[in-house]
Subunit: 459 residues, 2 copies
């Protein structure tokens, strides 16, 4: 079967009869997994707690805007959806830093034109994936079905129908759960013995706000950039949408003298934004009302093990490794999971237990590394992007990459523009730093030596 | 009110009317807390999921034998129970190391006669505490009542009665949950936003076994010692009971070639024990049957934050900081919690929210330190107690302590025989180690200097 776009056109032909998989969750990871499983010939019965997002695009709840990078785009390619999704996205080629004075400075992400993140609406992407999944005759989704119990020994999922209040048992060869950071399936596994689990929150929360498009649908800020207002300890970012608007996200502590808790009324909000985001606030006409209308979200990191049980249940994406959004890699990592799982299923088709174990072995070390990178990048974006030293270091990194492209790749570029597994990227970065240190030391030594020789020679 | 034994004698007089506290759990921490709250004059309504242990001493399930040290004994003193509990305990003054050959070597824990751990049956201790608690007219416990829901905003606990299947709501000024590592109250808090939580299991499990008393009630091993069979990667320990028997615990990996999973039948078990515990196995007549009758337990470390919510709900003991048992400090730490909480309630009687926050601030850093110490001590007991280097180091530590008793206190002694808060003990140990290093370096320098002078002087 060739890889081609599954959006538009008639139903897809599956590759041939495989087992039956129950898929929990129709979010980004779940619906992409449905497509890949559908292509492989599995019979997929999907269940989602929320209503169908195609009926109500707001049903998925508000969430941080999405940036797709190399890993995510590659996975979409494997699903035959690269062109379809690229059409929905706005490429961002670097960071636009906004100083408190309103001055801006552009920092390119990479060194080539294709070194871009793709800003896309989570709802648009989800709908495109669901449409593509349901074109497979062997993939079927039900919405408003809440997982209330899991029996790993028989791969039985107990669902509660939101509309009728009736419970149903669904039995299949295996349950794959892509039901997000607050996974109901994981909660069932967690109650069993010897399940390692951690949930850890930042003291910062986030709030989404909007910069609407101009009257003519024009972008009111530079279109092809991720905008950052770094303020030391807190920040706002803005990502472009295809309709000309920007989705802004303010990251700020929940509590304390300078925090969400400190703004009591609309006047406080306007004053805070005028003081800290002087160039953005005039572009936000609905600011104060939106601030109080939109919830303040929390930022969680989740890790657990094992991801699978008895070859019958497997966790995927945020359900087993939710990360904070500061590297823009949450959805990309979930998409990469889908491709790796498909490969593991191809290699061990006859033995789901081995396939699931191989998947965790292949992925967990890398998603653990991503969790640490994502928290580290928060500090970088919030506190360092504004500094001269930071900008000088980024310039030096890019110069080294231009001079020795195969030898030196900055960490951010490895994470964002390559598919080098996350932990390997971290290890390679440490090696690169050592080599740069040795090179700098050697150059210094040679220069000193030359100087000494010059003085000694009387020049 | 004077502090005196509450076991025996008539009902205790409370100190005067305070608020009403709902206490979840009648284990060690819960029942000691009930006594201390009862003494302070709070009205205490306690609920325990299990049946009354006084009706069925086995109802609490099997569990690792208990060693009370300074912290636990001090807390029992605060409850007026020191003499009563001492009468139930066997003092252990050191470790008896059993080599594979059957040879034994005694390593004293400290330098004084009172440097002892007190081995006591968890069931006996629990019953004594419950009896003491229920002598207070203002303390009342119900058994077979399972917590199914918690509303922190109104301090309402929803209970399910095991016998009748009926649900009841209990409302009070605050809920204190001492319901153990698998705390039902914590599970309710955990579902709320921004609750940090971690559960982490060792790959080792444990199994309890018995060395019965001799025909005449005699101890078949040295009575006043904690016995260890360190075998590198695994170990068995044995603690004395007042009836002349020993409770043995085998710590061994769950899976792998040398693990619980590797013993298939009674012949395997006998062969394994004869090979590894040659001096103990002849003392275990029921070994093979008991091995398969008793469950293999898992070993979990739990940490979470916050421990309290809205001045209405507070976690205590294992419910917020379960540790692995290798420092013998789990129950001691829970008892210490009870005393610290009582002190916080005295200092902030009018404001439970402040009292609960002060309790977490005062305790969490120390129970976190204990969690790390407990895991480190597993390696020490299992792998190092048998080595000569380890024994030499322990001897040196004790010599230093004898020479400079107020200046140098070995870490084990600080944890076990003092009430220095755990994290302070860890910091002090690091400082001591640095000073010992400096002293050793200085002595070496002086000796070298003297030697050089001697040679130079021609001697």
């Amino acid at each position: 079967m060739t890889i081609r776009a599954a959006v538009g056109g008639g139903p897809q032909e599956p590759a041939g009869g495989r087992g039956t998989i129950t898929l929990v969750g129709a979010g980004l990871g779940g619906s992409l997994m449905a497509i890949l499983l559908g292509r492989e010939g599995y019979t997929v019965r999907g269940f989602e707690m929320r209503p169908d997002p195609r009926a109500d695009p707001r049903a998925g709840g508000r969430s941080i805007n999405l940036a797709l990078s190399a890993r995510g785009m590659h996975a979409l390619g494997e699903a035959g959806l690269l062109d379809a999704i690229t059409a929905l996205a706005v490429p961002m080629r670097g960071r636009m830093i906004h100083a408190p004075s309103g001055e801006t400075a552009f920092q390119p992400y990479g060194t080539a034109a294709w070194h871009a993140n793709h800003s896309v609406s989570r709802a648009d992407l989800n709908i495109a994936l669901l449409n593509a999944a349901e074109r497979f005759p062997n993939v079927r989704y039900s919405f408003g079905s809440k997982c209330v119990d899991v029996d790993p020994d028989t791969a039985t999922l107990t669902l509660l129908d939101a509309a009728t209040g009736r419970g149903t048992d669904v039995r299949s060869d295996a349950i794959i759960a892509a039901d997000g950071a607050y996974s109901a399936v994981r909660r069932q596994l967690q109650a069993r013995d010897r399940f390692d689990y951690r949930q850890s929150y930042l003291t910062h929360g986030y709030k989404e706000l909007t910069i609407p498009a101009g009257a003519d649908g024009a972008f009111r800020l530079e279109k092809n950039a991720l905008h950052i207002w770094p303020r030391g300890g807190f920040m706002m970012i803005a990502l472009p949408n295809i309709d000309g608007s920007f989705t802004c996200t303010l990251f700020w502590p929940f509590e304390g003298p300078n925090s969400f808790a400190a703004l009591a009324d609309e006047r406080d909000v306007v004053r805070f934004f005028e003081k800290n985001f002087s160039d953005a606030s005039p572009l936000m006409p609905d600011l104060a009302a939106e601030y109080f209308r939109n919830p303040t979200g929390s930022l969680v990191t989740i890790s657990c093990s094992p991801w699978h049980e008895a070859g019958r249940v497997l966790l995927l994406g945020d359900a087993c490794h939710a990360v904070v959004p500061f590297h823009g890699q949450g959805a990309n990592a979930a998409f990469e999971d889908c491709v790796v799982l498909r490969d593991c299923l191809r290699e061990h088709a006859a033995d789901l237990g081995t396939a699931f174990a191989a998947f965790e072995t292949r992925r967990k070390v890398h998603t653990d590394a991503l969790a640490a990178l994502s928290i580290a990048n928060f500090e970088e974006m919030r506190d360092h992007t504004a500094s001269r030293l930071f900008r000088a270091r980024k310039s030096l990194e890019k110069t080294l990459h231009r001079l020795f492209p195969s030898w030196y790749v900055p960490l951010y570029m490895m994470v964002t523009f390559t598919r080098i597994p996350y932990a390997d990227a971290v290890r390679r970065e440490a090696r690169q730093q050592r080599l740069v240190g040795i090179a700098a030391g050697s150059i210094l030594l040679l220069l000193t030596l030359a100087l000494v020789l010059c003085i000694h020679g009387g020049y």
